[in-house]
């Protein structure tokens, strides 16, 4: 699978299946938000900030294996969508006939220390050395096209990579102009970032690129701990049968995501709900329109996932926190956290 790409396969070591998404205890907000990015990828990514050891990475990796498979052009390094030639790469656009295959949604890990070559692509050394040909070797951005790009410790990402990501995320394309090569290829992906806020802040420009943001906390009650440890122990001891035990849940959830996707375009957003979202954003003085657009999109995806035909006020209320939490102007002297400010505003503007 694409997510394994950073490491060579290990000799002798046992390759384990990933911990099932449905078996993750707690983390409700993170799980819901991840699902919504699958229902509507245009929501624009997710930022999960929290202490270490809260299971952020585990949850994201588990989510990867839950996603329904997609159709793609066979052999295309960008796995273009055969049904959408206008957003395909040059080769797929010009090809007379396209061979298709079904693949797993790519989930690509962007390691912190990755070089620009590795991320954006580079001259293919092998071809150049052996045959003297100038060929572009696609990087991680190409691999992540139509899928997910996951950056753990996104707040520690080097500035030059952040710049690169901002460009690509804004245009949906990777423009490569180096080493005598000129390549342009589609790179549309959902950005997932996680990190520990104690280790540093995100640059505001990057922060704004994330559609949703959640705060991940470790549960503090014994009962959840016991459940977490028991499930983890069962998985560590015999991952195959643990997976079999959760297979049913996983399939149900996958089917619900697919149903939500199909329903999405039919979900109606009444004017009154639009207005409520706008009033809330004005009351909170969020920067720009992106916040309001995200609330509406997320609320619509939530309604679709929950098999509703229209977006209701409750959907707005539930999505306001993850959509706006990272968009409030930060006043360093203000003691109240963003979460508390939004909760208060929801109560004031939208009522209990």
């Amino acid at each position: 699978m694409a997510k394994q790409n950073n490491t060579a396969p290990m000799k002798g070591a046992v390759k384990r299946p990933v911990f099932p998404f449905s078996a993750i205890e707690g983390q409700q907000e993170l799980k819901t938000c991840l699902i919504l990015t699958a229902v509507d990828p245009l929501i624009g990514g997710l930022l999960a900030m929290g202490d270490r050891g809260t299971g952020k990475s585990t949850t994201v990796r588990a989510f990867a294996s839950l996603l329904p498979p997609i159709k793609a052009v066979r052999g295309c390094p960008y796995h273009c969508d055969p049904a959408q030639p206008q957003s395909a790469c040059e080769q797929c656009r010009n090809a007379a006939k396209l061979d298709t295959e079904t693949i797993q949604v790519p989930v690509v890990d962007l390691p912190l220390g990755a070089t620009e070559d590795r991320v954006a692509g580079a001259l293919d050394l092998e071809r150049a050395l052996s045959r003297g040909e100038k060929v572009f070797e696609p990087g991680l951005l190409a691999k992540a096209n139509r899928g997910y790009l996951y950056i753990d410790e996104v707040n520690l990402l080097e500035d030059h990579l952040v710049d690169l990501l901002l460009d690509v995320a804004a245009s949906g394309e990777n423009l490569f102009e180096r080493e005598g090569l000129s390549v342009r290829h589609p790179a549309r992906f959902v950005l997932i970032g996680s990190g520990n806020p104690e280790e540093g802040e995100l640059r505001p420009q990057l922060l704004d690129r994330f559609g949703l943001s959640v705060e991940v906390k470790t549960p503090q009650d014994v009962a959840s701990w016991v459940e977490i440890v028991k499930r983890r122990d069962a998985y560590e001891r015999d991952s195959e049968s643990f997976l079999a035990q959760w297979l049913d849940e996983e399939q149900k959830l996958r089917a619900r995501i697919e149903a939500g996707r199909k329903k999405l375009k039919d979900v109606v957003v009444p004017d009154s709900v639009q207005e409520a979202a706008a009033t809330l954003c004005i009351a909170l003085k969020t920067d720009g329109l992106r916040g309001q657009l995200t609330i509406i999109r997320a609320a619509r995806a939530l309604a679709a996932f929950e098999k509703q035909k229209t977006v209701a006020l409750t959907h707005i209320k539930r999505m306001a926190l993850p959509s706006l939490r990272h968009r409030l102007r930060r006043n360093p002297l203000e003691e109240t956290g963003s979460t508390a400010r939004i909760e208060r505003a929801i109560l004031d503007v939208l009522g209990p």
Binding site: G53, G113, L125, E133, E199, E201, D233
Partner: protein, 554 residues
């Protein structure tokens, strides 16, 4: 020797020999390392000795890369295999120097149960901290003697039991109770303890019972304790914590759910026996956090010290003197021409000419770190502490846009204290500031010393320190913590002169109601900018500092 009296380190050696990939590894102190590794290698037998690697290894060493010599010789790319694939049992010396990329990869390998890692920290640097990401994934700490106890056949016998060793679900409950009682931060560590208990049972060829659970708790949880477990008795016992178990009949409200209240206490007893002594003296109200026996700060992993600045690309080399050849870029540049050049030069291998040479372009990390030394003594505290706090926060808000860092030293009473190690985090700064009390004498010299030490450390790791002292300059406590105005003045003067000698950028903000001669004198000794701020608000203080920071960070 019986199994009852083998040392903790010996148990860990057996555990890691048995299920190294499953358990992850250990942090090993430099003194204990030699014996421990010898014992572990013996017990691992034909499974291979630990592979010693340097923490300054490149990412390529882990993942594999192009083998340059072979590639040039054969005229086609030859790949080497990385350590992750060839020998996933690594021993890393000076592991605190691992860069973030290697750290991430190692952590991923540990998550997939594909790595056995022993980390040894620099014994000469008491502030060496392993990257939190790895620290959390290594269950054990080895700092005592290891005996040659386990043989390979012991381990092989245990291997057949490890999948079948039964663990009564009530132990999970008890371990969780015990972990929460000593402030363990994440259920991950309980999972590690459960896996350890299983492996211990396998080593002893029995099922999991109270002795294995208690031992697992001691090995995995005790060193992560944030505070001593709450005592059932009242506060009068706290001065001298009882080494004997608390009376079993005293009820414990949190443990209603469990069948046998004695078991969680048994685990806690085992943990207590291994707690660092200073923790036991602290009440379980969170005060213990700062005194935790080990460095569990979630500091960002340090950048490797050897190479300052990051590579931002490469450029054509006009001369190679003193520059580092970027071999990959050079090859890449030569590659497209090879077919042509080979026919032309009649060579049968790669032809590289002077024109192809590329050298790395390195950008110096010019990151500025603002070190605030705040006088929180009685003379300044009550009027100016709030402004000083506000100024630090305001600077921090700017710093995080510019990627600068902020650190905070406070001095009051008898000594100075580092409240906030260099950070970019608003949240940490806020928390550190909120907890800053005021009042007491002015140990000015100690405050300056602490700031100076920090500035030296920042410069050593390639940063650019600027020291900002908020004080009235009236020191009255000596370094030894004694009230003596004349001596304190002398000491402060000599401390200040150190800054001038090192040429650190410094600034003295005089926060007294009237500009003070003492503060002005101090600034002269430090070669620092002197700013009297008799009635400044937080933002007034922040403004000149922010200008100064901007000028040195770019």
């Amino acid at each position: 020797m019986t199994r009852d009296d083998i040392s903790d380190a010996t148990w860990v050696a057996g555990l890691l020999a048995l299920d190294g990939f499953g358990l992850g590894g250990a942090i090993v102190s430099a003194e204990a390392a030699e014996d421990f590794i010898a014992a572990l290698n013996t017990a691992r037998g034909p499974n291979g000795a630990m592979r010693v690697v340097s923490s300054t290894m490149s990412l390529d060493a882990l993942t594999g890369a192009i083998d340059l010599a072979a590639t040039l010789a054969f005229g086609k790319p030859v790949h080497t295999e990385g350590l992750l694939a060839t020998s996933p049992q690594l021993l890393i010396r000076r592991a605190e120097k691992l860069d973030t990329a290697c750290t991430s990869l190692l952590a991923q390998a540990l998550d997939r149960n594909q790595m056995l890692l022993l980390a040894i920290l620099d014994p000469y640097d008491p502030e060496a901290i392993l990257a939190a990401k790895l620290e959390a994934r290594l269950p054990f700490v080895v700092d005592g003697p290891t005996e040659h106890y386990w043989t390979y056949s012991d381990i092989e016998r245990a291997r057949t039991k490890i999948k079948t060793a039964l663990l009564d679900p009530k132990w999970v409950q008890d371990l969780c109770d015990a972990a929460l009682a000593i402030g363990i931060a994440s259920p991950r560590f309980v999972t590690q303890a459960v896996a350890t208990a299983r492996a211990l049972a396998a080593l002893q060829e029995q099922d999991v019972d109270e002795s294995t659970v208690a031992l697992a708790a001691r090995l995995v949880l005790a060193h992560r304790a944030q505070h001593a477990p709450p005592e059932q008795q009242d506060d009068d016992e706290q001065q001298e914590p009882p080494p004997q178990p608390p009376s079993p009949d005293s009820g414990e409200s949190e443990n209603d759910a469990e069948q046998n209240p004695g078991d969680a206490e048994l685990i806690l007893e085992a943990i207590k026996s291994a707690l660092p002594a200073n923790l036991l003296n602290l009440a379980a109200d969170g005060l213990g956090k700062r005194g935790a026996g080990r460095n569990v700060k979630s500091a960002a992993p340090r950048k490797s010290g050897g190479q300052r600045g990051r590579r931002i690309g490469h450029k054509r080399a006009t001369s190679l003197a003193g520059q580092r050849l970027d071999i990959l870029a050079t090859l890449r540049n030569a590659a497209p021409w090879q077919t042509l050049r080979r026919t032309w030069a009649g060579a049968d291998r790669m032809v590289v000419t002077r024109d192809d040479f590329r050298v790395s372009r390195i950008k110096q990390r010019n990151e500025a770190t603002a070190i605030f030394a705040v006088d929180a003594s009685g003379s300044t505290a009550f009027q100016r502490l709030a402004e000083a706090k506000g100024a630090v926060e305001a600077i921090l808000a700017e710093c995080y846009v510019r990627r600068d860092r902020v650190a905070l030293v406070a001095f009051r009473g008898k000594k100075a204290e580092l409240l906030l190690p260099p950070t970019r985090s608003l949240e940490r700064a806020k928390r550190a500031l909120a907890g800053l009390p005021g009042g007491g004498g002015t140990p000015l010299a100690s405050g300056l010393d602490e700031a100076y030490a920090l500035a030296v450390q920042v410069r050593r790791t390639g940063g650019n320190p600027i020291v900002i002292v908020l004080t009235d300059g009236k020191g009255n406590i000596t370094r030894a913590g004694v009230g003596n105005k004349a001596k304190a003045f002398e000491e402060a003067q000599s401390a200040a002169k150190l800054f001038a000698a090192e040429g650190f950028d410094a600034m003295i903000i005089d926060v007294s109601p009237e500009p003070q001669k003492s503060a002005r004198g101090l600034a002269a000794d430090m070669h620092a900018t002197y700013l009297p701020m008799p009635r400044a608000s937080a933002l007034d203080i922040a403004r000149p500092i922010s200008t100064a920071l901007k000028s040195i960070s770019r």
